[in-house]
């Protein structure tokens, strides 16, 4: 039998229900996996095994008293961007050293209500800015499939932990692809919900109009399960919308016959990794085989998406990160006067990529440049949103690659940020349009690295992309593939 830490949550729920294992068993397996492999992976910034075991025991006690909850006794790892009362929340940045959160993020409250055990804080690119986890101020996270390769980012810790069987489920956040891309690089399932579907309260903001919390998990059924738990209206997040939730798991029928899947031609570009292109094409063919109807669609403003994204996201970030000033919490370097203190604190404790984006965002909002950059970007954002609306006029969902390439070696992209930003081309439009997208494993490259398939749906139609992704997943075996290191983690 496989160790518990390698199973999807819905299977663990089955075992728990049948009395075939306990929450303590699950948590113990996960902790021993972390102990065995995390020095090589670097997925966790911190975890409290003792506390998790205590919570696991309490969960088992509750279950024996007849308590039934969707995640009772299931350990969940959290990207270091989510606030948990009494825990650090560092966003993998040194500037939040010493900060202990006084409150639970909305999604953390929902996890607790569902009975989940909060396990630990997962590594990420500092303030979710990056696509490789190289921007963590503490340590890089390594790709479980090949530790010379990046896990993707910014939720690289979440994806690597699930992939290496150091977590059974995790939450990440996606501003421009930060859930889908690492899920794709690490061979997991990652869902970015519609903007407004999941409350952002307690999610440390990178770009407020783009950020969403979502699950990074083993399979589509788990994505549906976790979305059911964390989604919903929060009256204290005015961007969270009061739209009824579906029972996402009930929509996983495995049947996609007649579903119209749109293939955006702009997502199959020259210079794409041929392995990615071919694998995604095979996946599309598979969907056709399953009865989906394929239609060609156009998203003509895709070429502007990366530029628009890096203007809007950095503009918002420049204001969002202004609060890290050393006055109320976190690191502080004293100065002659407040201005001197801010300068020294921020210069000393923020990383290069974060500074780069703050400077860029400050610039595009400056008087004289605002109209030229910010306003134009907002107009282009509307065009990108319209592209999707038009496309969804002729199809139910879009099917496309997640990234133009598979994972790459550490340092391979050099220090050319533009080169790095272009890797976001297929993910950022979804955030700009505020719609939903999911990444599911769809194959391996010649060099043994996972490739993801992206399915994109209209706003608040998560059930549709979950159903399509699930049908594809169940017809293939890619989601069951495990990296070699998972054996060391206790999968045997």
């Amino acid at each position: 039998m496989r160790s518990l830490n390698a199973l999807p949550v819905h299977e663990l729920n089955q075992l728990l229900q049948n009395g075939e294992c306990s929450s303590v068993d699950i948590v113990s397996d996960v902790i021993s996996a972390i102990e065995r492999v995390d020095d090589r992976i670097g997925a966790y910034l911190d975890y409290d095994g003792e506390h998790a075991l205590k919570e696991a025991r309490a969960s088992d006690e509750r279950r024996s008293n007849g308590c039934q909850l969707p995640l009772l006794g299931i350990p969940v790892g959290l990207k270091d961007v989510l606030n948990v009362r009494g825990m650090a929340c560092g966003c993998a940045s040194r500037i939040l050293e010493g900060y202990t959160s006084p409150y639970d993020a909305y999604v953390v409250t929902r996890l607790r209500e569902a009975g989940a055990v909060i396990l630990g804080r997962l590594n990420m690119d500092e303030f979710a800015m990056g696509s490789t986890n190289e921007n963590s101020a503490y340590k890089p996270t390594r790709n479980p499939w090949n530790q010379d390769y990046v896990p993707g980012g910014s939720s690289g810790g979440s994806a690597a932990a699930v992939s290496a069987c150091e977590a059974v489920a995790a939450l990440g956040s996606d501003t421009g692809g930060s859930i889908r891309q690492p899920a794709s690089f690490c061979g997991c399932v990652g869902l970015k919900p519609t903007y407004g579907r999941v409350s952002r309260r307690g999610l440390t903001a990178f770009a407020s109009s783009l950020d969403q919390v979502g699950p990074v998990v083993r399979d589509v059924r788990d994505a549906a399960l976790l979305l059911e738990v964390i989604a919903g209206h929060d009256r204290f997040d005015s961007t969270s919308l009061n739209i009824p939730l579906s029972s996402y798991r009930d929509t996983l029928t495995g049947d996609i016959s007649g579903m119209k899947l749109g293939i955006p031609k702009e997502y199959f570009i020259d210079g794409m990794d041929p392995d990615v292109k071919k694998t995604v094409q095979d996946a599309i063919d598979k969907c056709a085989e399953l009865g989906a109807e394929l239609v060609d669609v156009e998203l003509p403003h895709t070429e502007y998406a990366v530029a628009v994204y890096y203007i809007i996201a950095t503009a918002e970030a420049s204001a969002n990160l202004a609060r890290f000033d050393g006055v109320r919490y976190g690191a502080r370097v004293d100065g002659r006067d407040p201005l001197d203190m801010y300068g020294k604190t921020r210069a000393g404790y923020l990383g290069d990529e974060v500074k780069r984006r703050i400077i860029l965002g400050t610039y595009v909002l400056s008087s004289g440049y605002y109209d030229e950059y910010y306003i134009r970007a907002q107009k282009a954002r509307t065009l990108i949103r319209n592209d999707f609306e038009n496309a969804f006029g002729t199809c139910d969902a879009l099917i496309a690659p997640v990234t133009p390439t598979t994972s790459f070696r550490f340092g391979e992209k050099g220090d050319d940020p533009l080169q790095m930003y272009l890797g976001d081309i297929f993910t950022v439009p979804v955030n700009l349009a505020g719609i939903c997208g999911i990444s599911v494993p769809c194959g391996m490259s010649g060099s043994g690295l996972p490739i993801g398939l992206q399915i994109i749906g209209p706003a608040f139609k998560e059930e549709r992309i979950l159903r399509a992704a699930h049908a594809y997943e169940q017809a293939t075996d890619w989601h069951n593939q495990k990296p070699e290191i998972a054996r060391t983690a206790g999968m045997s």
């Binding site: 939040l96 903001a205 204001a319 000033d325």
Partner: protein
């Protein structure tokens, strides 16, 4: 050279809401430092603002009272600058889509009335308060997140007196609408001044000097007197005024430079992504309109017409909403409008200022005042007794009739009882009787006084005088 002065005011008003603008922390003054705080008003990572609708209502009601256009759609923006008292290092404010546009305020200057145009009214958050110790500084964030309404006037005020009158009139409106506590000592109303001078014959406004963070109306007046003198001094000597921001020092009575135009902040406004635009329906606006009270100026005019009061009385009675409410309630019960006004204008206001309290703390009820006026009109009590009863009503409340009975203050008007005192007065003062009869009519007043004294003030003075005259004039000395 003669100059034309142009003054505009940006008035910041703390709104009277129960909780802060983005969170559930209480909106109150005077708590120990950093006790009314939470992750939201401290700008903690991940904290999100959630709009207090009551703050929106108060802003819109203010706009309605000032005749502003209420914008169906408005939004919030981030105004970025670094300052230790600012939790997020951006202030959530409104840039180009405020709740209210336009409007006006009528002010009274030099016995006349002047209409001052309002540019806009928007809503924003107040910041914390820096506290400086000997070796270090601290910040109290209790005030951070207090709803703050900003009312911007056109630069149409032409003197320190007009600026003072504007603030006085504005405060009156704010108190009438129950918009703000209006307590200057607690910083409920603060303003930034801009002031420019230009030659009399010029149509172009001069360079604008801003004076920041004024928290008393008197300070506004004084700083403007100083600033205008300073600028005239520069201009008369052929100097040029540079656009700059200055600060006022109330102790020295001087303004000094804070920053020049070159160092002006670039606030980098952009739409607040954490809050959705606010759309107000006409039903919502109508509901707010129906809740606005009569404005001081309208009420003053109505008092003059409806109750036949002199302009002066109407002005004083309507200067305070509670006072006007008190008057109106008493007047309606009594029907003797002028008598009710007299009592309030003299004894009651005198008592309030003597005690240093507001009308809300007073014990007398409008019903009691109406009853007292009635007792006087009915000749049940005389004025001295009425004044005694009024004093008791002010100090302890109660019913005038009960107090009158309790203290034996009823007026004696029946002729048999009066005659007893009259006869005693005449027999005790034969010389006064003689004086009167020899033509010194003033002796009558003395004898009336004696009757009042003998009756312990209870005799009806008119009845006493008539009885005295009848006896003196008939030649009957009564003895």
């Amino acid at each position: 050279m003669k100059y034309k002065v142009s003054i505009g005011l940006e008035t910041h008003v703390q709104l009277k809401t129960r909780s802060k603008i983005w969170c559930g922390c209480p909106n109150r003054f005077g708590q120990p430092a950093n006790t009314d705080i939470c992750p939201v008003c401290l700008g903690y990572p991940g904290a999100l603002p959630s709009l207090n609708r009551e703050a929106v209502r108060l802003t819109v009601v203010t706009g309605l009272m000032l005749g502003s256009t209420i914008n169906r759609r408005s939004k919030f923006d981030r105004k970025s600058y670094f300052y230790p008292d600012m939790p997020k290092n951006y202030q959530i404010s409104q840039y180009d889509e405020p709740f209210c546009t336009g409007g006006h305020l009528n002010i009274n200057v030099n016995g006349g009335s002047k209409r001052v145009e309002i540019t806009r009214i928007h809503l924003e958050e107040d910041v914390g308060k820096s506290i400086h110790f000997e070796q270090s500084s601290g910040v109290d964030f209790n005030r951070a997140g207090t709803p703050l309404m900003e009312i911007v006037s056109e630069p149409e005020l032409e003197s320190p007196d007009e600026a003072f009158a504007y603030l006085t009139a504005l405060k009156q409106v704010l108190l009438y609408g129950d918009i703000s506590e209006g307590n200057l000592e607690e910083g409920n109303i603060r303003c930034d001044i801009n002031c420019s001078l230009r030659p009399m014959d010029s149509d172009v406004l001069g360079s604008k000097i801003e004076i920041k963070n004024m928290n008393t109306f008197r300070g506004v007046h004084r700083s403007l007197v100083y600033e205008i003198k300073r600028q005239i001094g520069i201009l008369d000597n052929g100097g040029v005024i540079q656009q700059e921001t200055r600060r006022w020092d109330d102790d020295s009575g001087l303004t000094s430079i804070m920053r020049t135009k070159e160092h002006a902040h670039d606030y980098r406004y952009f739409p607040e992504p954490d809050l959705m635009p606010i759309v107000l329906t006409s039903e919502e606006i109508d509901a707010m309109r129906s809740a606005i009270p009569e404005l001081p100026a309208d009420r003053r005019n109505r008092f003059a017409v409806e109750y036949g009061l002199p302009e002066y009385d109407a002005g004083i009675l309507t200067s305070d909403r509670d006072l006007a409410d008190f008057y109106e309630a008493a007047a309606k019960i009594s029907g003797n409008y002028k008598a009710v006004s007299n009592w309030i204008m003299t004894d009651m206001l005198h008592y309030l200022s003597e005690e240093g309290i507001g009308i809300d703390k007073i014990k007398i009820t409008p019903e009691a005042l109406a009853e007292l006026v009635d007792l006087v009109v009915q000749n049940t009590i005389n004025m001295p007794a009425a004044k005694k009863i009024f004093r008791i009503l002010l100090e302890s409340g109660g019913k005038p009739t009960a107090i009158m009975e309790d203290k034996g203050l009823a007026q004696i008007s029946d002729s048999d009882s009066i005659d007893v005192f009259v006869e005693e007065a005449l027999s005790s003062h034969p010389s006064s009787v003689a004086d009167y009869r020899s033509g010194k009519k003033a002796a009558l007043q003395f004898l009336v006084g004696q009757v009042m004294r003998l009756s312990k003030g209870k005799a009806n003075p008119r009845a006493a005088m008539e009885s005295l005259k009848r006896r003196l004039d008939s030649g009957d000395p009564g003895n």
